[in-house]
């Protein structure tokens, strides 16, 4: 993966340093875990995740979330390379921080920075000012974890939510 930290400082953002990787587990849930994404395109996978957040009652309006995710991709692709994308955003429509996970074995063209198809999707939604201000630390820690090829390989092999959680609990 090419992009990790700010090249100017060559340091991890402070936010990422404040979070233990195991804390990420608190933001996953079984109903936001999709071991086999149906979508084949970038547009479709954003719709699939927006629907998932509504079905899981994280938000009640699909179109608000979809618009947020689409606008974020307009700003620049959240495909960070290495077969990983982390679409994200703060939205008034969400009451708490949640992370959805989806896997595509075939891979999806997501305009990633390395131009390679994306297999692992982590979609992070947060309210405007989450109580503990965890949004940026979560994003930072996700990037740090997914920068490691061994973590990506393990995640590519998970089939169940339990296996998925075990991967995160096992990261040092």
């Amino acid at each position: 993966m090419r992009v990790v930290w700010n090249k100017k400082s060559d340091k991890k953002p402070k936010e990422a340093e404040k979070m233990e990787v195991q804390e990420l587990v608190n933001y996953f849930s079984k109903d936001l875990f999709v071991p086999k994404l149906k979508s084949k395109t970038k547009a479709a996978v954003l719709v699939e995740f927006a629907n998932l957040f509504v079905e899981s009652k994280v938000v009640r309006k699909q179109d608000l979330i979809l618009e947020l995710l689409q606008k974020r991709e307009t700003l620049g692709s959240t495909g960070i390379g290495g077969g990983v994308a982390i679409p994200h955003g703060r939205t008034t429509a969400a009451l708490e921080v949640k992370i959805a996970f989806g896997k595509s074995e075939a891979g999806i063209d997501f305009d990633a920075i390395d131009k390679k198809p994306v297999h692992l999707f982590f979609v992070v939604l947060a309210p405007p000012h989450d109580e503990n201000n965890r949004y940026l630390p979560i994003l930072g820690k996700m990037v740090e974890v997914l920068n490691e090829s061994k973590n990506r390989k393990r995640l590519l092999n998970v089939q169940t939510f339990e296996e998925f959680i075990q991967v995160f609990e096992g990261i040092e």
């Binding site: 606008k71 700003l75 703060r90």
Partner: protein, 111 residues
């Protein structure tokens, strides 16, 4: 159905937060070069919002970190004041844009 004007306001606040977060997400390594596209989308959104509502939103932005706040268990999560019953009924029906009687923020119902 969610009031279209409220929907526009929510989208506006979401875009404002996205713009505010740009430097932070760039520092994390994310691509965020298309700022002008987001600003264009924001401009387009501003044209859809009725002027009095936009004025309310802008005034609230100068006073608070966020102009639109959630209602949970009939309580405004901006000032934690209980919402009067008649406003709850109107708010839940999504027909009107409702302001909190305590803090003046725009209210958004989650359920």
């Amino acid at each position: 159905m969610l009031n279209k004007q409220l929907e526009f306001l929510v989208s506006l606040q979401d875009l404002d937060m996205m713009l505010k977060d740009i430097e932070d997400v760039k520092a994390l390594g994310f691509d965020a070069k298309g700022i002008e596209k987001i600003q264009e989308a924001r401009e387009a959104l501003l044209k859809k919002i009725r002027k009095p509502l936009l004025s309310t939103y802008n005034k609230l932005q100068t006073r608070y970190k966020r102009s639109i706040v959630p209602v949970k268990d009939d309580v405004c999560l901006g000032c934690f004041m209980r919402i009067p019953t008649q406003l709850i009924t109107r708010g839940r029906s999504d027909q009107d844009v409702i302001l909190c009687e305590g803090c003046g923020r725009i209210l958004y119902w989650y359920d």
